[in-house]
């Protein structure tokens, strides 16, 4: 057994009170420094799974291990868990509850009972990292959707948690904001954060992830490295996911399935093409 899991879900089942949807028998390990991407159709249960990861939802069956210790969902344990695992919600409208940006971002760190000057540093640094320092005094309801999204990122960044979870971070953003978000992800991963993302952007998932989790109708169908997942045509068909463009081109060029040589990103693909020419 591996001992460096930060979080491990063990055969977890969860059902909403109205019994219309359930996650069944979910097992998932999150190790330090991993970049996990969860893929699945709309309504597959991705957001529900994320809410389980930081203890917002309590599973009916199965265990959540936090640093290899079973979580009992006491207030104290939940506090520790949430200090470690932070979640950026899909809809900024329901994450932001305060009328002013500055207050919103300071809310989380203040709850950690840090000294005031530490909080102030964190708030200003995270606003700066996301390049929204100029918005700090603006009332929230005057911000655009993309700006609200950035405020959500800043308020989570200010928590400086070990694991950061993003629920569809790039949905309905323009290209500039998408690039901003992707840069932000890279920034987090170079700062040795563990990242969990749900997305519908296959190309991003392929080049970013170290581990991909496929989920359908509340069940995990497959977990594996991007190569393992995206060369498995049967699974891709089953879950209605396209192959990343890079891999498609690579397969055409190679006419084979040399999985280990697969390019990770555009630059690597270009190199392969140049060698062939």
């Amino acid at each position: 057994m591996n001992c460096n899991n930060i979080i491990e879900l063990k055969n977890i089942s969860f059902q909403y009170p109205d019994e219309a949807f359930s996650l069944e028998n979910i097992s998932l390990q999150i190790k330090k420094g991993e970049k996990i991407v969860i893929l699945g159709e709309n309504g597959a249960g991705k957001s529900t799974l994320l809410l389980l990861l930081n203890g917002i939802l309590k599973p009916q069956h199965g265990d959540l291990l936090f640093y290899d210790k079973k979580l009992n969902f006491s207030q104290k344990e939940l506090f520790q868990l949430r200090k470690t695992v932070q979640l950026v919600f899909q809809d900024p409208e329901i994450q932001i509850f305060s009328g002013s940006v500055y207050e919103e971002v300071s809310f989380g760190p203040m709850n950690l009972s840090l000294p005031l000057d530490v909080v102030k540093n964190r708030v200003e640094k995270s606003l700066q990292t996301l390049d929204i320092l100029h918005l700090k005094d603006k009332p929230v309801h005057l911000l655009s959707f993309g700006q609200k999204k950035l405020v959500c990122f800043a308020s989570i960044l200010a928590m400086q948690s070990e694991i950061v979870i993003f629920d569809e971070p790039t949905a309905s953003l323009d290209q500039r904001h998408i690039d901003l978000v992707l840069n932000f992800m890279e920034y987090l991963s170079t700062n040795e954060k563990t990242i969990v993302i749900t997305t519908h952007d296959i190309d991003f998932a392929y080049s970013f992830a170290t581990k991909i989790v496929l989920i359908k109708d509340g069940k995990i169908i497959k977990t594996g490295s991007p190569q393992e997942i995206f060369f498995d045509n049967d699974i891709l068909q089953k879950i209605n996911i396209k192959k990343p463009l890079i891999l498609e081109i690579f397969e055409k060029l190679n006419k084979g399935d040399i999985i280990n040589n697969a390019p990770k990103n555009k630059e690597e693909l270009f190199k392969i093409i140049e060698e062939l020419l």
Partner: protein
């Protein structure tokens, strides 16, 4: 008009200490409410309006528009107040209604108008230069019950969420001809209201999730922005209020004499 509060983020006074603005506004309101002279009330209204437009740099049109809101109530009520039953020294008479405007009642209602305006303008000074979050912070410092302040600050955010929702539902109904006939209008309005209820319930649940995930412990603690007191402003407030009090005393004495 609903996004009224945005002006406080653009004014010249946004970096002034909120307590200064609060003391100026509330202090002067208290003094001005003792006024019994048209001249004094008018002077207060006039100077504060000048302050708002030239000092706080709120656009004149914005200020006039905001003034028009209370004027809708003020003017009709002052007109009604100007009338009394017919006496000998009336300026305008409506014999068939047994009503008339006398010299005294006219003066009285004009005085009331300016007194209200002077207080309204002072209130606007606070509202147009200070954000609600800052005003609530002052209430916190004044040891108002925490619960009330938290409710107020959540309400402030939720008003806009609900307004957005209502607006979106309305647009989506309207674009599908939901308000075409009177019967449909009633039906659509019914849907809108019931929907709004369930949405607000659902959203409050979801927002609670977001609070919980950031280690919410039952209390809202925020980092508050630091402001610097300015001696110049404090002096100004003191001088303004002293002049106001002097004016008050003089006008009262004159009335007595």
């Amino acid at each position: 008009m609903i996004y009224f509060d945005k002006y406080s983020y653009f004014t010249k006074l946004k970096n002034t200490h909120p307590a200064e603005k609060f003391v100026f506004s509330v202090g002067s309101i208290i003094i001005a409410s003792f006024s019994k002279s048209i001249v004094l009330s008018f002077c207060v209204f006039f100077t504060v309006s000048l302050l708002i437009v030239f000092f706080a740099k709120i656009k004149l049109t914005v200020y006039l528009k905001s003034l028009s809101v209370p004027l809708y109530f003020l003017v009709p009520s002052c007109i009604v107040l100007a009338f009394s039953s017919i006496k000998e020294h009336s300026i305008i008479m409506l014999p068939f209604l047994n009503l008339a405007i006398s010299h005294k009642s006219l003066i009285n209602s004009i005085f009331l108008l300016f007194k209200s305006l002077s207080i309204v303008s002072l209130l606007y000074f606070l509202i147009l230069t200070t954000s609600l979050t800052e005003i609530l912070n002052i209430f916190t410092k004044l040891k108002f019950p925490k619960l009330l302040i938290e409710i107020a600050s959540l309400t402030y955010r939720f008003i806009f969420i609900l307004l957005d929702c209502a607006n979106n539902i309305y647009i989506s109904q309207n674009s599908r001809c939901g308000y075409g006939t009177i019967k449909n209008s009633f039906k659509s309005l019914g849907y809108l209201i019931t929907n709004l209820f369930s949405i607000s319930l659902q959203k409050s649940n979801l927002i609670y999730n977001s609070l919980e995930s950031r280690c919410y412990n039952g209390e809202f603690n925020f980092l508050q922005k630091k402001y610097l007191f300015s001696l110049k402003n404090i002096l100004f407030i003191v001088i303004f209020d002293v002049i106001l009090i002097l004016g008050l005393i003089i006008s009262r004495l004159k009335n007595i004499l």
